[in-house]
Symmetry: C2
Subunit: 198 residues, 2 copies
Amino acid sequence: MGRTSDARERILDSSRRLLRTRGYTALGVAQICDDAGVKKGSFYHFFDSKQALTIETVDEHWAEERRGLEAVLAGAGGPVERLHALVECLVGTQRADHSESGAMYGCLYGNLALELSGQEPEVRGRLAKVFDDQVAMVARLIAEAQEEELIGRGTSAQTLARSMVAQIEGTVLLARVRNDPTLLDEAWPSARRLLAVA
Amino acid sequence: MGRTSDARERILDSSRRLLRTRGYTALGVAQICDDAGVKKGSFYHFFDSKQALTIETVDEHWAEERRGLEAVLAGAGGPVERLHALVECLVGTQRADHSESGAMYGCLYGNLALELSGQEPEVRGRLAKVFDDQVAMVARLIAEAQEEELIGRGTSAQTLARSMVAQIEGTVLLARVRNDPTLLDEAWPSARRLLAVA
């Protein structure tokens, strides 16, 4: 029992890492099993297919990441300080990648979103939900900042939040294509300008 | 001779469309040949590999698109009007995709950038060049707008231009993941806020 549930976790760990570094299409069940050190029979005991594993990987990765971001949201400091901390959290994975391996692997959700379009509508639906959740979290902080008149009310918190999430995804994309982590330093100044922080 | 050069063009046309709609990894030389109606021997007469074809596809696609964007840059209207036209040009492909096929296929360069990271450094180098060119074009217009005091000089035209290109890539990503072309309508208002257009 202990061993069985351990296999499931190992498969999910391998999937998370390999999906981000290699992409969806390039990845096969055999490679995931190999990386996780489990047999194919064990894989299919837990997951119906690579697609089903991908959906669970996205869900579990986001559940974990979300808890981290919620902690930042509920942290100390005014809403603008917490927005700043949130941006640093969202680009932090890329900095960590680069210092560990010399490369950036992008955002799991953004990578899958651009790799899969018409294909795999169920996976895309999950990614849409992750981005909706991110936008909602950012919008809560922006609304708080608007209450305190630190950000103008001319544009809705929801629209500003979506622009900010788009800005972060685009910044990660450009940093990754140049493999230059210093470009991530622009994420927060760009967000400040976008929100016209007072 | 006429027929031979026609085959090369057909391969490049198929490659451009299939790379954008299916991605790099999922695409094989056989499928490109099939789509273009050429034999494998003919393919390898013109291109050494799928990688070599991808590099030429990016180069040719960008050369063509660049001419279109240069025409917008040199067009009528003040620098802010031309920036607006440039943004609409950059998201226009997604709108066209959606009205033709009901789906959006994203930006060829953005898709490849997120699909290929450590793999295919030569392709990535080409993509970096495309984004550098786009940033340089946008920066020229922003500098013009700064000259005319329509945009503040607090941040360099280069930095603002990179934020704007990132914003557009991120907006396309979010519109695509929801398959909702109305999200593209936010590209210009977001850019205006980012640039703090007077």
